[in-house]
Each structure stands twice: as C-alpha cells, then as structure tokens.
Symmetry: C2
Subunit: 373 residues, 2 copies
Amino acid sequence: MGSSAGAVVDGRAPPVDKGVDYAQYFCTYAFLYHQKDMLSDRVRMDAYFNAIFQNKHHFSGKTVLDVGTGSGILAIWSAQAGARKVYAVEATKVAEHARNLVKANNLQHLVEVIEGSIEDITLPEKVDVIISEWMGYFLLRESMFDSVICARDRWLKPTGVMYPSHARMWIAPIWTGLLDQKLGQYHLAMDDWHNFAEETNSYYGVDMSVLTKPFAEEQRKYYLQTSMWSDLKPNQVIGTAAVIKEIDCLTATVADIKEVGSKFSSSISTENTKLCGFGGWFDVHFRGRVEDPAGQEIELTTAPSVDHGTHWGQQAFLLHPALHVSKGDHLSISFFMDRSKENHRLMEVEVECDIQQYSGKPLKTLKNKYYIE
Amino acid sequence: MGSSAGAVVDGRAPPVDKGVDYAQYFCTYAFLYHQKDMLSDRVRMDAYFNAIFQNKHHFSGKTVLDVGTGSGILAIWSAQAGARKVYAVEATKVAEHARNLVKANNLQHLVEVIEGSIEDITLPEKVDVIISEWMGYFLLRESMFDSVICARDRWLKPTGVMYPSHARMWIAPIWTGLLDQKLGQYHLAMDDWHNFAEETNSYYGVDMSVLTKPFAEEQRKYYLQTSMWSDLKPNQVIGTAAVIKEIDCLTATVADIKEVGSKFSSSISTENTKLCGFGGWFDVHFRGRVEDPAGQEIELTTAPSVDHGTHWGQQAFLLHPALHVSKGDHLSISFFMDRSKENHRLMEVEVECDIQQYSGKPLKTLKNKYYIE
C-alpha cells in the first residue's frame, strides 16, 4: 500500500512525499497549542533569549534568517536586538499568526514572514545569521536539521554565524521506575490477549493463537522497545555520561547526521543499583564562529536536572530485565542510530553493551533494538 | 504547503492522495491492537456472527467478497458457513496476519486474502455476497462506505446480497455531564494562556495578546465544537430520537452519502432537565435483498444502552450553554453534515434548532457548527 517508504538508491535517502510528510509531521506545528508548549519551556526560551541579547553584535544591523519560525518569537527577538532585516520562514499555517504577532509588536518593517518550506522559498539576499530551533527529541528526531543545512548552504554568507553553533548528543546508564511500569503494562496487554483469544475460540469458533506471537511482538515494540520520554533526575544517572555525537552546525552535512554510531565506555558510579537502561539527551551551544565569536557563550542543555526540566526531557532506552550492577562495574557500549525507512523523521537504534564487574569478571552482553517514535 | 486539501471541481470530490490517506487513516488499522479492539466488541461480533450463521443459505456454496477484512474474521465465518470461495481484501499489512489466521483455521483452500485497496484489485469472478464492517463513528466517519460502493458496482452479481443491507443514522436531544467537563477544560486552557501571555510579555518583551483570539478559537474548536465519543445511557436521551438518514446498501451512491441533510422535530420527554446537546448514533440491518431475504433478520445497533455498549459509542454534539427544558417542549431541528475539505474521511456538521415551550412560546434559536474528527 501507499506508505511513504521508498527504496534507498545509491545510498541517498528516498524522495519525501510532501503531502505525507505534512500529514505525519508538520500538521502538529500548525496548532497554537503546540507553539505555546514550546514557548512555555523556560530553559529553551532563556537560552535563545540570552544568546541573542547577550550577543547583540551578531544581530545589530545584520540580516537574519529564522528557519521554522513558528509563532515568530526568534525572529522578533532578532529584530529587537537590532537586526536590519529578518526573514522568518514557516511551512505551516502558523505563519499567519507569526505575521500578526510581528505586526502587533510593531516590527513589520523589519521582519518578513514567508510561508513555505525552506527548500522551496527564495530570499532576495544572503544573510549574516541563521537562527533556528530545530532540535527534536534526542536532538535528531524530526530530522529538521536537514532543512537548516539546506538554508545554510543556500543563504548563509561565507562569514555568517549559526545560532546555535554546536550540538552534542549524550548517553548514560540510568535507573528508572518506568521499567517496571512498562513491563507491567506489557504483561497486562498479553494477559488480556490470552483471554480474548480463548473467548474468540469458544464463542465464535475461530482459533486466534497464530496471532499471539505477532501481537506480542507488536506490544513488545510498543511498551518495551520504543524509547520513552522521561524527566530524569541527576540521581537516576548511575554511571558516567558520554558524548556520542558532536555537530558543528556551520559545517555538518546531511550525511554527517543521518547515522550516528559511537563506541564508548561508562563506569557505574552508584553502589548496588539496577541498570534499567540508557538515557539519551542533548545540549546545544551558541558560540558564534571562530572568526566572530560570541561575547557571551550560552548553553542550552536537556540533561537530567532537579529544577530545569525541558519539554524535550530525555529519551529512555529500557533494558528488560534490569541488571544488578555496582560502583566500578564497567560498560563497553556500541550505539548505532539510523533513520526509519518508513518515516525519515523517526529513528531506529541498536545498542550493544558488554558489562564487566569491577573485578574484571564478564557479567553479561546485551544487544537491543529500539525505536524513537 | 502540501496539505491534502484540494479544490472541489464541478461538485466532485478532489482526488485523494493515497500516501496521505494512508498516513492519516489506514495506518491505524495496520496494528493488531486495533484489530483486537474491534474483535472484542461483543455487540459487533454477535451481530455479524448471527447474521452469517442464521442465514447460511446466503453463504452455502456461494462466492463472497469481504471488503476491508482486517484480521479476516468475517471471511473466515463466511467460509465456515459454507461459502465456496471468499475473497478477503485488505489495504494494510494486517493482510498478512489475516492470511496466517485463515491458514491456522484450515480455510486456505476457501479464503483468498488479497492485499490491496478495493479500488485497485481485480477479482477473477463476480460474487454473490459482499460483506463488510465499514461503519465509522456516527456511521459515516472514515468514508469507508465509498469503497464498499465501489466493490458492489464492480463485483456484485445482479442477484447479489449486501451484508449489512441497510443502515440508519439517528439523532436525539441528550443530557450529559461531558458539557461541564469540556467547558471546564476550555476555561482552564484559556486561564493558562492568559498567564502565559502575561509572563511572555514581562520576561521576554513580546506582546502575545494578538494571538489570544485565534488561540481561543482553536481551543473552542477542540473542546467545545468537536463531537465527543460518549457511552450514553438511555436515561440520558431526554426527547424523541429521529432517523436522519436511511441507506439501502444495495443502491446507495457516493453522492447519496457525501452529504446528510435532514429537518426533523423532537419532543422533550423528561421533566425539568437540561438540554446539553444532541447524541448521534447508527444501526445497520442484515435483511438480504427483497428477492432473496434473510431468514432471520439481524440488527446491529449502537444506540444508548444500559448493557450493550459498543466501541462506536455515540457522538455527542454539545451545546454551550445548556438550556433548561421540560416535558413537552418542542425542538425543530435542521441537521446538515458534509465531509471536511481537508480530509474526506472527517466530517463537519451544522445544527440549527428552534425551541418552543409546551405552551407554544418560542424559547430560543440555536445555531452551531461541529467537527467529527
């Protein structure tokens, strides 16, 4: 049937059906409700606000392109910080709201809202700054950075600056109560299935047992293999965190970010605990560029935090069953993330993990597949 | 942007983008979890089971087409009831599960599962029976009957029988606690917005007030104008119910079902109550055809019921504010339903209602728009 999947030819991504992509992805962003959720994220807002207003020299008298402006907030701040001209590009109908917001804030002479996808639109000039809030869950979900790369390659001056300028992905071993919760839900769903199959047989004379295995696989994928949004606290991180990817927004290509592979190790730092899985998060930095650095370097981090949670939270990749570990135990981890073939904005992850006790005794080798949906 | 909307030319529906339609609609049915939900609906299952097995003369030695077979249950029952050959057509990947289920029940020599959309596939012969469970919320949501019509016009013998053979849509005035709940949620959302707008102004120097009205419209649509799934009990129906549409499945055309318009009246049958809105539901009947009637006529109703709720429930169209009414008050109602221009599987509804007290005194005229999403 007409799914959006296509064959990968010559190692290039299949062409994306724009209508399908809209139905699956952009449509969410057309709602002010969703825009408000993002605008209410204080950590997100503060980081961009400070990055702009503490680095006015990057904006004053300059031209700016905001990729995926949404309600228009970053474009408005850029203008308020002194930009000569801001192009605010938005693919959804929210563009109209952005235009009204710009006008209501008396910036219509500086900010031009353009409704269209960045791949299709044309600007009358190249720009000094590209600003964008393109980060999805675990940084790369949504694959929106592709559009930022496209914008950069087409519209950024050779001397231009990216906001943010750098991004990193992190992984750490975690403890989480989600594990028992999800396992419980999985078992409930299976109990329910078995009752259903028995009843269908006795009432309606149809033997459903051949579907038990695929149903279990479907439920396992949903409850156990799909990474979970989490609001982890620092004490749930039970070992050293590792950077698995660094992106220089000025130079990264789509090929650089399509797949993420990393081998790294982590030491358990908590006595007598359970390894329930891995937490994944990201941070981005606003550093300007080497020849034209930020006066004040700003960080936006989505790491586990007591007080500064974000709407991104962290992604939890759960292990079933959890494993008893203790301080000094050593994890050798191989992490690989690729885009889903069915939907290039979703991700598939493989994690291999060798666990050695502090004594050097091998404990276990784990291999798991996950879906970031 | 590439939404699925298209202009209506010459009164005909715009062509449907199959990829978009899959992303928006069919994808749900690809999950066994969803199939199980439908298979666990006892009212639904009993009706089809009884319709088939109490009318074996329609199946014995006959050819059958099951449109949208899902897990394959109706095709399997048709074969068990003696069909010579059953074609079971399914547009999603569930077709593979159906094929396995057929085999596990030793019917692979009788039931042929065909993965494809009914509009695209070809059968080697015309059939005696078309069976399908095509009913969406309030009967016509999902617009799946279009595919049944297509199947009938292409593949049913002139003497063939439709299962079900008839369908009706019902409307009645109702009382429901959902009204206060939804109104409360709407007010909470708006309070939240006002706080948000104030904070955004004071912390970040952006005046959001121009977006208050469109945000309120969006929330109003979501909480107050979108019809709600409900499990109404008979005592929540506070006036006479009316049939607003009758469909003869053997003769109805897409033009007949694309729009539903009806003028009807209802008398309040409960003393001192509140008119909170209107409930909509449907029933279907399995009567065979005039020249070849069912021996035992079966009804599947989704009307408000104490004990026999269905997964379809009823759709509640809420009135804000509710209106005090009493026994003998008279409602003159004009109901009009059309397909959404953005998605032909969703509906838009307009209800006009003149309310007269028992004494003849006009009480109020209401006019509301609703979305079935």
